[in-house]
C-alpha cells in the first residue's frame, strides 16, 4: 500500500461517507418508517381479523418474502416503465424496500402484539375503551418494547440492503466506490473502504439500540 493509495483512500472516504449520509441513510430511514407503518397495518389487519383485508395482506407478505429483493428492484425500475409507470432510482428503491420491511416486520410486530397478555386488552374493554383505543394506548406500546430488538435487527439489515439499489443506478456508497475504482483500478481498497463505511454506520446504530433499550428498561 503506497502513498498514492493512502491519499486516494483519504480523499474517497469523504465521498463515500457523504454518499452514505445523503443517499443510503435517507433511503434507510424513509423505507424503514414507511415499512413500519405497513407492518403495523398488516399485523393489526390480521389480529383484528378485518374481513377480506386479512387475506390480502397474507398474499402480500407471501409474495414479498418469497421473491428476491433484487428481482423486485428490477421489476419496478426496469419493468414498470414498459407499462408506462416510471420511478427514478431512489423512489424505486424506497418503494421496494418499504414493502420488504413491511412484510418482514409485520411478522415481528404481530408476534409482539400477541405476546401482550390478553388481560391487558380485556382491562381496556372493561374501562369502556374500544379495540383500537386499547391497541393504541396500551397494547402497541408494550408490543413495541418486545419488538424493539428484532426491529433493530431489521433496520441494521436494511442499511446493508440499500447497497442493492446500486443495481438500479442509485449512486449510494457502493456505486460511489465502484465509480472511483473504475478510474484508478484500486478495486480491492475501495471495496474495503465501502465495507468500512457500512461497518461504521451499523456500529453507530448498534450503540443507539443498546442505549435506547436501556432507556426503555428504566421506564417500567
Amino acid at each position: 500500500m503506497n502513498e498514492r493509495i493512502i491519499n486516494e483512500l483519504i480523499e474517497s472516504f469523504g465521498k463515500l461517507f457523504l454518499a452514505g449520509l445523503k443517499v443510503s441513510l435517507p433511503l434507510t430511514i424513509a423505507s424503514f418508517s414507511a415499512g413500519l407503518i405497513i407492518a403495523f397495518l398488516v399485523a393489526l389487519a390480521q389480529i383484528a381479523k378485518v374481513p377480506v383485508l386479512r387475506h390480502l395482506v397474507r398474499v402480500y407478505v407471501w409474495i414479498i418474502r418469497c421473491t428476491p429483493m433484487i428481482v423486485q428492484l428490477f421489476i419496478v425500475y426496469f419493468g414498470l416503465p414498459s407499462i408506462g409507470i416510471k420511478f427514478n432510482s431512489f423512489v424505486s428503491a424506497w418503494l421496494v424496500m418499504s414493502l420488504s420491511v413491511g412484510a418482514y416486520c409485520s411478522e415481528t410486530v404481530r408476534a409482539a402484539i400477541q405476546s401482550v397478555p390478553v388481560g391487558q386488552l380485556e382491562a381496556c374493554y372493561c374501562d369502556g375503551l374500544t379495540f383500537w383505543q386499547g391497541m393504541m394506548h396500551v397494547i402497541v406500546p408494550q408490543a413495541l418494547r418486545t419488538a424493539f430488538p428484532p426491529l433493530s435487527n431489521s433496520i441494521i439489515g436494511l442499511v446493508k440492503d440499500t447497497s442493492l439499489a446500486y443495481s438500479v443506478a442509485l449512486v449510494e456508497i457502493l456505486a460511489t466506490a465502484q465509480r472511483i475504482a473504475a478510474r484508478t483500478y484500486d478495486y480491492f481498497w475501495l471495496y474495503l473502504e465501502a465495507g468500512l463505511i457500512y461497518l461504521i454506520i451499523c456500529s453507530v446504530l448498534t450503540v443507539i439500540q443498546s442505549r435506547a433499550e436501556a432507556a426503555l428498561e428504566r421506564r417500567r
Binding site: P117, G119, C126, D127, H137, P141
Partner: protein, 245 residues
Amino acid sequence: MISVKNLTKDYTKADGNHIRVIEGLNYEIEKGEKIVIVGPSGSGKSTFLRCLNLLERPTAGQIFFDGEEITAKGTDINKVRQRMGMVFQNFNLFNNLTVMQNLTLAPVKLKIMSEKEAKEKATELLKRVNLLEKADVYPASLSGGQKQRIAIVRSLCMNPEVMLFDEPTSALDPEMVGEVLDVMKQLAEDGMTMVVVTHEMGFAREVATKVLFMDEGIILEENTPEEFFEHPRTKRLQDFLSKVL
C-alpha cells in the same frame, strides 16, 4: 338493575366438541345488592361474571342492564361497559403506564372528564386507598395487594354503577388479602352494587346480601349469608362448605 334471562354459554374445544359452561341461567340483581358467587372451579362462575359485561358472548339468552337489552345486536357495548367496573384476578394494570396514567386513561380518552378533573378524581381515590405516594410509579414496582387496590381505583375512576370482581384476592399472598378486602368492604358500605366471585367465605358472610352457589353451570342454591352457611339445603353445597370452611 341487571337481569339475566336463560343465559347459556358453550365453548368450542380444540377437538371441535362443545362444552356447556352455563346452562339456562336466570337471575335478577337489584341496585345496591352485594352478590357473592361461590362454587368449585369449572362451575361457570367466572364465565357468568364475564358474560355480564360481555367479555364473553353468551351463546343464548338475554342480559338486561337498567332495562336495556345489552345482548341485543347493535348495542354499543363500550357505552355499557363504562357503567360497569371489573376487577380481575391478575390485576391487569396497564404495564406501560404509570399508576396515575392507568387511572386517567379511560376517563380522558373517552372524553368523560378533562385531564384535570380526572387527575383530581384519581388523587382523591388514591388517598382513600392510601396509595397516593405511588401515583407516578409503574405497576411493576407495586406489590400484589397494591396492584389490586389500584385496579379497583381504576374502575372507580369511571364512576361505575356496578362493580364486578373476578376472584380479586386469589392471586395474592395471604398477608395482602386483608387490605384488598378492606377496600371492597368500604365500597360495599358506600352502597355500590357488587357482584363478587370469590373463595373468601368470611367476606361472603360479612358483606353479601345474597350468596349464590354455582355448580355445573347452574345456580344450585341462593340464600342470605346466614342461611347459606348455617343451613345449606343441597348435599352438593354441604360437601363444598365442609371442604372450604
